[in-house]
Subunit: 149 residues, 4 copies
């Protein structure tokens, strides 16, 4: 994972997320696991707000097939974070999100990750083409030349 | 637990808390466990903001000896909740918090709980008198006649 | 909550549960919230093993309407706990479970809690009579005279 | 992340881990986040069992600087998983673990991940050479030619 570190201003969408007491581990910092719950929350909140995800009703669902995160600086409770959300790659039946974790006001990320959704039929679990209205939303989130930093 | 249901306006302190994807369980609603993480977060955030809790340094710590919650109406992700925090009983070495969980703008609680902290020496784990500066903060949070509703 | 402390031998059913790293909080002990996830896990595992809960298919579901826990002694990761499960009260559409948390081999609980399920129609969310096969399972879990300790 | 999929028999150490109710998300399968808590649990349990980690006392601690996971097949509660733990790369002040998630008895992984610890002084947070007794333990966990699969 040699992706460049994207600054806050590079992200087309952001999500405010206050930390919780339970996010801290025995060392007094946000545990590495918690960052992935931030990613889940930011991406799903965005999709629900855009009207392209209804977890209880959808006939197609996004299966998470790969995730990853790099941690650059410690974070703690209490704090309010900004999660940057962008689309790094938009495929026929999949989307790879780039996610940045920022302390409020800071331009450089404290952590940076990604995750990949493959869309499948909710019963057969076989890949399907991204629904057109979802593709329209995701196309507006594509990061500008992320590979060149 | 026959405590009356306190409306939002009865709470001397409130804490905004957005729900997370992981708070929902298989039934599509906030799981009963998550409410207790809201209580932990709201109370500890308040104590830290008031300067009377430094989890890494304190020589006295609040041990949780009892908790409880009643659930009145389902909640879900995504939503932003208001957690009401008040002090129901202030003892020599203990404090019993009353906590309400509210959907934004609503006056009636979706859930109501409590938890009891006993303050102990961080090494010996024996009860100690509440530090005076903590008592001062807690005294301002005491609910008005909570037992009469 | 003045329930007597039930020893391990009083419980008709037990569930082994290893602690996890994330169960510990900043003070190096199992956080008060984690105990409720143990209760959820032990009760649902029991109901699934007995064939009376299929979370994805059931037309009736158990809504949690009240929970509570008292904490007697600290626990930590790593450790393997035994969760005692019994039925304290069996109503027409509800069941109140008594739960004990034990360190391996110990007869006295480190924590003791309860939770109350009200069974409802999964669509209308209105209370229903406990399904007969569920009642049969629960009847075998009723604690013997728990109120007299 | 193009690491080959290692079978259960390739791992020098394994850890049994029962799933929990809260590991399932709204879709009825283990949420992608939960896998990382399995990794934390398996690695830290191993280090504690080997006597080379004492989270409350250590003057050097392992900071997690990168994690990742690929998901091959869905898992659910209730189930008991086997977490395979091996060392993929042993540096001067860092270690990269390879982790496999297996359903009981199955030889092929349901998921596979990694995480990288950099050891630092617990106060200055600057990298330090791995303590010799830790290095001895880790050297015994090195995977055999993992890059060739």
């Amino acid at each position: 994972m040699t992706a460049p570190r994207l600054p806050l201003s590079a992200y087309p969408s952001t999500h405010l997320l206050p930390t919780r007491w339970a996010d801290n581990d025995m060392y007094g910092h946000i545990n590495n696991v918690a960052y992935y719950s931030y990613f889940d929350t930011a991406v799903n909140a965005l999709l629900i707000a855009q009207g392209v995800l209804d977890p209880q009703q959808s006939s197609v669902i996004g299966l998470v097939v790969e995730t990853g995160c790099q941690y650059f600086a410690p974070l703690s409770f209490p704090d309010t974070l900004t999660i940057g959300v962008g689309v790094e790659r938009l495929g026929n039946s999949s989307v790879r999100y780039r996610l940045g974790v920022f302390r409020m006001q800071e331009e450089q990320p404290a952590a940076q990750g990604f995750f990949v959704h493959v869309y499948v039929d909710s019963r057969t679990r076989r890949p399907v083409t991204l629904p057109p209205e979802l593709r329209t939303v995701l196309a507006q989130l594509v990061l500008k030349a992320p590979e060149e930093g």
